[in-house]
């Protein structure tokens, strides 16, 4: 991981994050992220070969819900906060590609 993050990578990450950054921001972030990541290098000093990752501190599992329907919001409330809607639908500019990933 040792290499510093460069502008190109910052641009790539911005694209992945769906942030249309300005040139200034890219420059600024490249410097800041580099400094931060450089500090984070410190982690590599630790040998974690036999350490399990801890995603969660909780001692619990199997938290379930019964399969019992409850009232949904309904169309009107669902669309209440929508920036744009078309009848009963959310509205977005035409989607031309088919990149659904289910």
């Amino acid at each position: 991981m040792a290499e510093n993050i460069g502008k190109k990578q910052v641009q790539k990450v911005a694209k992945l994050s769906r942030l249309q950054l300005t040139q200034n921001e890219i420059d600024e972030f490249t410097g800041q992220l580099s400094a931060i990541l450089k500090y984070f290098e410190k982690l590599q000093q630790l040998d974690t070969e036999d350490v399990k990752p801890l995603a969660h501190c909780l001692p619990i599992n199997n938290v379930f819900r019964d399969d019992l329907p409850q009232q949904s919001l309904g169309t009107e409330k669902t669309l209440e906060n929508a920036p744009q809607h078309d009848g009963d639908f959310f509205k977005v500019p035409k989607i031309l590609d088919e990149s659904s990933g289910a």
Binding site: M1, I5, Q9, V10, V13, A14, L16, S17, R18, L19, Q20, L21, T22, E25, F29, Q32, L33, A35, I36, L37, Y39, F40, K42, L43, Q44, L46, T48, V51, K52, P53, L54, A55, H56, C57, L58, P59, I60, V63, R65, L73, K77, E80, N81, A82, P83, Q84, F90, V92, P93, K94, I95, L96
Partner: protein, 488 residues
């Protein structure tokens, strides 16, 4: 009235000695007078609050039973969903967002007959340690209006310090309750992860976030915990009564802990400012005088907590904030050229710099080729840090540390140096990584008459004991009773 703690005010309201309406009006009078300068609130609900207060007063007059927080004017951080007003998270992207539901804690407050008088300012999406990243407004520290109130629950802490409410809720992902509490001279408790429901709390770092109270004193914190703690079936990460029963936090509060064993981490003290160090040492002496045994411990992995924390928190945040895209709710950029631009422009135009920076950092840490070196590594280090705590708590009941390396700093001082800002979270983030409870209580003032906080950390689900320990200290001094000069 402004000198009453929440508990005392509640008792007086319940006895009919003070009217809730008067308490609420008193608070709003002050808000109107000084919140223009402080900037604690993003929104307030005067009419609704007075109406509710009137109802409570009527019930009390009629001798009807009322809830545990009946008639108390309480503030909540603006990252908890409410069906009334907006829930903005201090972000432009949610400035007009109206939640169709109440967060579980909000509902619990309402069910306890509390009066939610307003929603407080914060760092945008709780990302910050000074409330300066708010996309809505500026909040200053009531003790010195040139300085920050701390963050991210800076609005709640400032509102409390300026007596603009009698208690408040904040959220704490890496110190966001404790640090502003220390900067503003109030009590702030971050409960154990899983103790208080996160349902309706707008997520920042889901495995780290906890809601907790900010109060005038320890007793008030216990009173609020009695209302907000407990299992919620809407939050899979909230623990059940079988896993960890909820005690009555008020019941044994005033009972000192026998054979109290307190640990300090020597390396932690050397890194704090001198006045701060003195205050912490005084606190240690206070406990010693109360009969506690003081031991020194080593937390071998604590130095790695900052990188581990910032990688985990930002990774989770990058995913949690992906939903703000201008499609289903929230801000949408004008004239996007295609649907992709709905995302990229809306996000670009409405997220602040710190939020973008963290989304970028988190996305990078999860991206292909970097996951193992950053995110996964951080999870492993998290485990080591939790082990450090497990080992420590075998030897002691609690650990005393500073809350922050400095007292409240000047506005703008650290804003352009993200890494410096991140490093100031050194004392608070470990509790979030390990999921343990931690409280910040006032323990002195520095040369500039700025409050200093003492942090006490204890094992998971021992908030009752933690509050007892905090109360032992509080009884020995009057730091928590001091009022900022702005009120004189």
């Amino acid at each position: 009235m402004k000198n009453l703690s929440a508990k005392k005010l509640r008792d007086k309201i319940a006895k009919g000695q003070i009217k809730s309406s008067d308490a609420v009006e008193d608070v709003f009078r002050r808000i109107e007078q000084i919140d223009g300068n402080i900037g604690a609130y993003i929104s307030t609900f005067k009419e609704q609050s007075l109406h509710q207060a009137g109802e409570i007063d009527r019930k009390i007059a009629d001798d009807q039973t009322v809830g545990d927080l009946a008639g108390l004017p309480i503030a909540v951080k603006d990252n908890m969903c409410t069906t009334f007003g907006a829930t903005t998270c201090a972000s432009k992207i949610l400035e007009n967002f109206h939640a169709p539901y109440n967060a579980t804690v909000v509902q619990k407050l309402i069910d306890a007959d509390a009066i939610i008088i307003g929603k407080t300012n914060m760092d945008e999406f709780a990302m910050g340690s000074s409330t300066e990243t708010s996309g809505v407004k500026k909040t200053v520290n009531p003790w010195d209006t040139e300085r920050v109130p701390g963050g991210s629950s800076g609005g709640s802490a400032a509102a409390l310090a300026a007596r603009l409410c009698c208690a408040a809720l904040g959220s704490d992902t890496g110190g966001s309750i404790r640090q502003p509490a220390s900067f503003c001279g109030v009590v702030g408790l971050k409960p154990t992860y899983g103790r208080v429901s996160r349902y309706g709390l707008v997520a920042f770092g889901s495995s780290l976030d906890q809601i907790g109270p900010l109060t005038y004193n320890v007793e008030d914190a216990a009173m609020l915990m009695n209302v907000i703690a407990g299992h919620d079936k809407k939050d899979s990460t909230s623990v059940t009564n079988e896993t960890a029963p909820v005690p009555d936090y008020l019941a044994n509060l005033q009972k000192p802990i026998d054979n109290l064993k307190i640990a300090v981490i020597p390396s932690f003290l050397t890194s704090a400012e001198a006045t701060l160090r003195e205050s912490i040492n005084d606190a240690v002496d206070t406990y010693k005088n109360l009969g506690a045994e003081i031991i020194e411990i080593d937390m071998p992995h604590i130095d790695y907590a900052i990188p581990a924390y910032y990688l985990i928190a930002t990774a989770e945040a990058s995913s949690n904030l992906a939903r703000y895209d201008g499609v289903h709710y929230g801000y949408r950029a004008e004239k996007p050229k295609d649907y992709i631009e709905v995302y990229s422009k809306s996000r670009e135009q409405s997220f602040g710099k710190e939020v973008k920076r963290r989304i970028m950092l988190g996305t990078y840490a999860l991206s292909s080729g970097y996951y193992d070196a950053y995110y996964l590594k951080a999870l492993k280090v998290r485990n080591l840090i939790r082990d450090d705590f497990d080992n420590a708590f075998e030897k002691c009941d609690c650990i005393l540390t500073p809350v922050s390396p400095t007292t409240a700093f000047k506005i703008g001082e650290k804003l352009d140096e993200p890494l410096t800002m991140y490093l100031s979270d050194i004392y608070t983030i470990a509790a979030n990584l390990a999921g343990i409870p931690a409280v910040s209580i006032p323990c002195g003032f520095d040369r500039n008459n700025l409050p200093i906080g003492l942090q006490i950390q204890s094992p998971p689900f021992t908030e009752d004991k933690l509050l007892q320990i905090a109360y032992m200290f509080e009884k020995q001094n009057d730091y928590h009773e001091k009022i900022p000069p702005i009120l004189n």
